[in-house]
């Protein structure tokens, strides 16, 4: 039995339909995630509309260097993930596994930079509470949203790294055929995490820099 035939599961008549089924499932999940993150973006939009000056003051304290480097890392990881999917579809096991590993490494690098950024933020006391250094008080709203949105994003990314790692290991150990459409689900989730950062980048790091 060829790898492609071994990858086929019930009740699908062929791999293309099976891949489509995986895509529909993961896109339904992504649609729900859009609303989850959308609620956070909505909170940001409302408070920024109400307190534009406070948000301008608060956002000036974010570390644009770390935000930019992390954007570059995630964009690159989305490319390596796409190459892994294409390689998988063509039965090119080594390229697929190497690209999955690269994707994981880029994701891990993101988390390392995020950790460094968090350390710098905490050193400046930018955590909402009694001793928050900025005025007016509404600046705390921005920083509460900053910690919440970047924190939830980091949890999603860490989850993605785990999923990609497990999937790379499964392919490496040949527990699944290389043509398995499951990689489509993994990749779509990863790209969505990248999408969220693309939106967060201007909201958190580029406010009123001029």
């Amino acid at each position: 039995m060829s790898d492609a035939a071994a990858a086929l599961r019930e009740p699908w008549p062929d791999l293309d339909r099976q891949r489509e089924g995986v895509s529909v499932g993961i896109w339904l999940f992504i649609a729900s995630e859009v609303l989850f993150f959308g609620a956070l973006f909505l909170g940001y939009a409302v408070y920024r509309t109400l307190y534009p000056e406070a948000f301008r003051i608060a956002a000036a304290e974010t570390e644009v260097f770390y935000g930019s480097v992390n954007l570059l890392l995630l964009l690159t990881s989305s490319v390596t993930m796409t190459i892994a999917v294409d390689a998988s579809r063509q039965g090119r096991r080594r390229i697929a596994i190497v690209c999955l590993a690269l994707t994981m490494l880029l994701g891990a690098a993101f988390l390392i930079f995020k950790g460094l950024e968090y350390r710098a933020d905490i050193a400046k006391g930018l955590f909402p509470g009694a001793y928050f250094p900025l005025q007016p008080p509404q600046t705390q709203l921005f920083w509460a949203l900053y910690w919440l949105m970047t924190g939830v994003h980091a949890i999603h990314l860490a989850t993605g790294i785990g999923i990609v790692g497990v999937f790379a290991w499964i392919l490496w150990r040949r527990l699944l055929p290389i043509e398995s459409p499951a990689i489509v689900g993994v990749a779509t989730y990863w790209h969505f995490v990248d999408t969220v950062w693309i939106i967060l980048f201007p909201l958190l790091y580029l406010v009123d820099r001029s």
Partner: protein, 134 residues
């Protein structure tokens, strides 16, 4: 995910081209944030982010080569999101002001009473719309 089934070059070609476009757009967004465009900085940055997301979804998540059902699901999330934004802002942007914009909550708080005099002609009517002075 790409549908390319071609030569080894093709595996790298399209994702790399999209990556170049995404990085250039990211740099444009970063650079434009330092231009004195005033109120147009954020709309421009968000527009660039929107283009980046479209590129990512079309070419890396392969919505462009997907079945109509997938594109429908992808758009559905965004449609419901737009409803959530529209309904929320139709509320916040049409509330009567209690304080000048940027200095306090613009709506009645839980511990405040409605000024019934305003409805009986004993006081000026509540200001409707965005919280502008006057």
């Amino acid at each position: 995910m790409s549908n390319s089934h071609g030569s080894p070059t093709h595996i790298w070609l399209r994702p790399t081209a999209v990556w170049v476009a995404l990085v250039l757009l990211g740099l444009a967004s970063l650079g434009s944030a330092y231009l004195p465009l005033n109120a147009f900085n954020m709309p421009l940055n968000l527009a660039i982010a929107g283009v980046m997301v479209i590129l990512l979804w079309l070419f890396l998540m392969d919505l462009i080569g997907s079945a109509a059902l997938l594109r429908l699901i992808a758009v559905a999330g965004l449609v419901w999101l737009s409803f959530m934004f529209a309904l929320t802002f139709s509320d916040y942007l049409s509330r009567a002001c209690e304080a000048p914009r940027g200095e306090g909550p613009p709506a009645l708080r839980g511990d405040q009473q409605i000024d019934r005099g305003a409805f009986e002609g004993k006081a000026s009517p509540p200001r409707i719309g965005r919280c502008s002075p006057g």
